[in-house]
Amino acid sequence: MSDPYTDIQLIDKKGKRLDGRKVDELRPITIEAGVLDRADGSCFLEWGDNKVIVGVYGPREVHPRHMQNPLRGIVRARYNMTPFSVSERKRPGPDRRSTEISKLISEALENVVLTDRFPRTTVDVFIEVLEASAGTRCAGLTAASVALADAGIPMKDLVPSVASGKIGDKVVLDLGKEEDNFGEADVPFAMVPRTGEVVLLQMDGHLTQEEFSEILEMNRKASMEIYEIQKAALVKRYSSFTEEGETSEESEEPPKKAKEAKEAKEVKEVKEVKEVKEVKETLETKEVKEALETKEAKAPEEPAPHKDQKADIQAHEVDAGEVKKPDGKPAPEEIKSGDTGTEEGGGK
């Protein structure tokens, strides 16, 4: 196939790149934490045209057993490109490239995860590249560390990662697709912001030492930018948990969906209440009747309080003025708030 890009100028004289970015400009990055339900932690990241989703499981038992380390846990990342993530379909399953990337990402993550806290176990990190457009390993690692944090894995820091390189004699930040394919050099990089440790570094192409240090500095700066986006994603996910139990679950979702979800939940709750009622009634009609028959023929008001709590509570809400019940029973308001609190708040 003839390459439409070979003759293209990747950067113009004013330092403007193919996609209109400046030399030291990142592509737009959005990160959302907690997007999957079954995974212990998860993250969805869009970085330019890249789409990456990460699920974290663990700490859990290691299979195969011989990989267990009696002194510390292990971190196993699996970087996988979906067949439809690239322009020509990629055969599914691991190849040499993704195996290498998996290894590098695992090692970078193992550096920040406090593995001595959970010996003999593994934390499995599944990185699925849904759409690829250069810099997927960095996108994967960036997302993976957020997903680990979302899973509540103890870590010393997040790991922002970015790849810079050289195109047409110019050093540029965050290579795009064409720049990656036809540029002169590529330097994927990841750093632990709190300590400054470099945990991922690769380079291919041709660079002078000056250019290389320039790239490193560029990467370092950009890492701090990405770090802020990572933190913001986690804050967004968890800040709402300080509110009362109920609202928190909802507000994680985007506003449009949150509304729908809330409505759906309300409907569901009504249903659940009905359900419970039904079951209770079926059970109780039997039991209560038996009880009533055997004991004295009491008036139906006696079993009422626990028979139909909701109705009871509602009744009390209507005449909210008289909180103290004449018969000296515990204030129903208290019971109610406590009840619903646990019922609705125990989401996760």
Partner: protein, 259 residues
């Protein structure tokens, strides 16, 4: 290999509630979870969709590349679909070569798309015996919350409905053409728990189900594919009931996937 453990208490609870006609999530026996479809989800694929059936989450990409035809069908395009039980979608799924449950899922999904002649393969011939369009439907579950059979099939149909044949890759003058679908089979999966049949099983229901049946019906209500799984059984009447439901609900789901 991790084994799925369901406690007896949970099993009994689901069963006894089912006998009373109650499902744990409050749905009716013939009620589906909410289906949301996001089409043209990916730029890198010729067709794509991300669908959510309740919390079950699946992304599907359709790739259309030139390739060589099968020697016994030199003038027909090739349609291949794959579905995996991806490790990201559940703590019980592992990466590596697919095991029987994954293969069953892949084949059942494939059957209701390929064998039902959803796609007309004749116009996909570029040069007889030499070059044809190969259509790959790759189904990628992200979150498994029961009933992957339907979620995968819906995702595949939605992705196919957006797919374009990239003729411009071969001939710059020619425009990309929509792939188009011949028919639009839509599947419906039901499980049997105890003596009760319920559709669109949730995760809990999937785990304790005795038997499972997937029926695909087309616009005319004709049956296009079917599969019964697990070691339980259905009566003839139950099968007919599921077929009827498949037609009924299929007609509601179809516009969401195809329009």
């Amino acid at each position: 290999m991790p084994v799925n453990i369901v406690s007896y208490i949970k099993k009994d609870y689901i069963r006894s509630m089912a006998e009373k006609g109650i499902r744990l999530d409050g749905r009716g026996m013939d009620e589906m979870r909410e289906l949301t479809v996001e089409k043209d989800y990916l730029g890198s694929a010729e067709g794509s969709a991300r669908i959510k059936l309740g919390k079950t989450d699946v992304v599907v990409g359709v790739k259309i590349d030139p390739g060589t035809p099968f020697s016994d069908r030199p003038n027909l395009g090739v349609l291949i679909s794959t579905a995996e039980l991806t490790a990201i979608s559940s703590p019980l799924h592992e990466s590596g070569p697919p095991r029987p449950p994954a293969i069953e899922l892949a084949r059942v999904t494939d059957r209701s798309i390929r064998e039902s002649q959803t796609i007309d393969l004749a116009p996909l011939c570029i040069e007889e015996g030499e070059k044809v369009w190969m259509i790959f439907i790759d189904i990628h579950p992200l979150d498994y919350h029961g009933n992957l059979f339907d979620a995968c099939q819906y995702g595949a149909m939605a992705a196919l409905s957006t797919a374009k044949v990239p003729w411009s890759k071969l001939d710059e003058k020619r425009k990309d053409e929509p792939l188009g679908t011949h028919t639009a089979p839509v599947s419906l999966t039901a499980v049997k728990i105890g003596s009760k049949v319920m559709i669109d099983p949730s995760l809990d229901e999937d785990e304790v189900a005795d038997a499972r049946i997937t029926v695909s019906t087309d616009e005319n209500g004709d049956i296009r594919a079917m599969q019964k799984g697990l070691n339980g059984s259905f009566t003839i009447d139950e099968v007919k009931y599921v077929v009827k439901l498949s037609e009924e609900l299929g007609s509601k789901v179809r516009p969401k996937l195809m329009d």
